[in-house]
Symmetry: C2
Subunit: 332 residues, 2 copies
Amino acid sequence: MELKHQATVTLAEVADAAGVGESTVSRVLRNHGSFSGKTRDRVMAAVERLGYVPNRIAGTLASTASRLVAFVIPSLSNIVFPDVLRGASAVLEENRYQAVFSVTDYDPTKEEALAAAMLAWRPAAVMLAGYEHTEGTVKMLRASGCRIVEMLDVDGDALDLAVGFSNGAAGRESAAFLLKRGYRRMGYVGHDLTRDTRAGKRFAGFCETLATGGAPLADREILAGASSVENGRLGLERLLARTPDLDAVYFSNDDMALGGYFHCLARGIPIPGQLAIFGYNGLDIGRATPQPLSTIRTPRVATGQVAAQLVVTNAPPQVVDLGFELIEGATA
Amino acid sequence: MELKHQATVTLAEVADAAGVGESTVSRVLRNHGSFSGKTRDRVMAAVERLGYVPNRIAGTLASTASRLVAFVIPSLSNIVFPDVLRGASAVLEENRYQAVFSVTDYDPTKEEALAAAMLAWRPAAVMLAGYEHTEGTVKMLRASGCRIVEMLDVDGDALDLAVGFSNGAAGRESAAFLLKRGYRRMGYVGHDLTRDTRAGKRFAGFCETLATGGAPLADREILAGASSVENGRLGLERLLARTPDLDAVYFSNDDMALGGYFHCLARGIPIPGQLAIFGYNGLDIGRATPQPLSTIRTPRVATGQVAAQLVVTNAPPQVVDLGFELIEGATA
DNA sequence: ATGAAAGCGCTAACAC
DNA sequence: GTGTTAGCGCTTTCAT
């Protein structure tokens, strides 16, 4: 059986081959409108025979109804975002939407440029992380008329849709937990907070509750660059060198916390006897370490799922707080 | 200043506002063809004033030259694929290409369906993992006329372009290293190999060299489902319960190996004195553990970068072997 | 240097 | 139930 390996087959050719009109082919293919069973069979046979693949570029242009969903995310190194994409793409695929993405490296200016590039594809929705966008981004997004979903945070004013959880509350709850456990001299190890504003909100919440509880933060070590296990390890080493008598350390996320945990293992520092460790994210790996990591588990995959669901159902503007779960673990 | 918040501005409206023809606006915007500086200024002013965002759907249809690149990847949970995407998206963004993706869950049938859906967007290229595709996928891809890039493996017959490294060689080299270190009674802990065929190739290469070296694989534990730290831990526990006298264990990847490592830490099994551990991938976390993980580092980000580069430069069909690097570490 | 006009491949009225 | 036709918003000859 020969296939056309060259020029692409068009709907018009299928129509000719099936001996029907173009719109009939279109109806059959989209299973929309009415047509007889016999016609459908003739069309499908022609489609099969010619190896026809519909052109959604043309279809989208003609219908002015896009099924592209644009993700403008800060990073792909931090597992948080692949998790969100994973949740979203499952829902989108089921609904015949297509995911498009680009990566901002936590740079709001780059976010603006990439959002602009995305809008040129006339997506049904633009999915972003958090609320901190440039004025230009906001203006552009608003003017575009497409749905906007701000993910992974609910502490702010949503442009349209928002799905996630409160980072401030996560920080406060972490602090409350450590206070309740009796820790009084606490430190913080984090990564670049000016870029990762959600980590900044957690830190602010953490400090706030600590201060209220009468045990203000004793010391902090903030490393330049992205979060990583190595940076967590290095950060804890530096922090302890400066302030050796800390009894607990809060990390900007689980990657960082694991680094701290490894540092303690390597140095023989008893956990949590001498030093408690608390993270954020609830990564699976934290459950398999010799001592399960004390942390807060965030619904990352669910955030993506719900975000996608809201878009495909064209839900009214709203903020969905998915909450989070504190995992006691064994390191605090 | 008022902006049009409603109907989208078209190129024709910009042309009117600037008092020039549509084609002139098009030339200016794409900086292609000739036009006077004065005309350019007039056009740009109109673009600015109206808040015009070009419609790439229409542009792509008109030019029949797509700048979409489609990724059909097995998973987003396994950090390998986000890494590849990260490398690729950086290069694509620089070249004004747009990345589109969908996730197959390691299912070739789903891969076929998703590839078909992708082709409907008329991408410039389709990027896949490995060589194992259904007949239908291959036929469809070939007929599409777009570039095809098979990533993360070079052991097979490339459809068009291929970028990666040899999984078979990685398995063999791992075995050779362990043999050279003097281990003679080795086991394997892996995840579902029928789905992750690249892991299967590593395992096959590993066994081959072990047999040749006169120390055939002593035992294996293969877990259903995806790789994970928890599965690695569980797998090693089971393996040792059955065959306690192993002196080294090869894992299907670093996630699994870390699970094994944690198991040993928890049980107080001396590493590598009593048991050596060897992984695959060279994840950053493996360098921050109390003992650096012995593993093979793979160029995942580079794979994405090179794959994208080949596509944007429209390189001739070829296979690019990026190689890998054995990391001695301290666990073997 | 610039404009007019003919598509790109499809969808969506609107007739029949 | 089915065909005809007019766009969707651009790019691209081809004149001028």
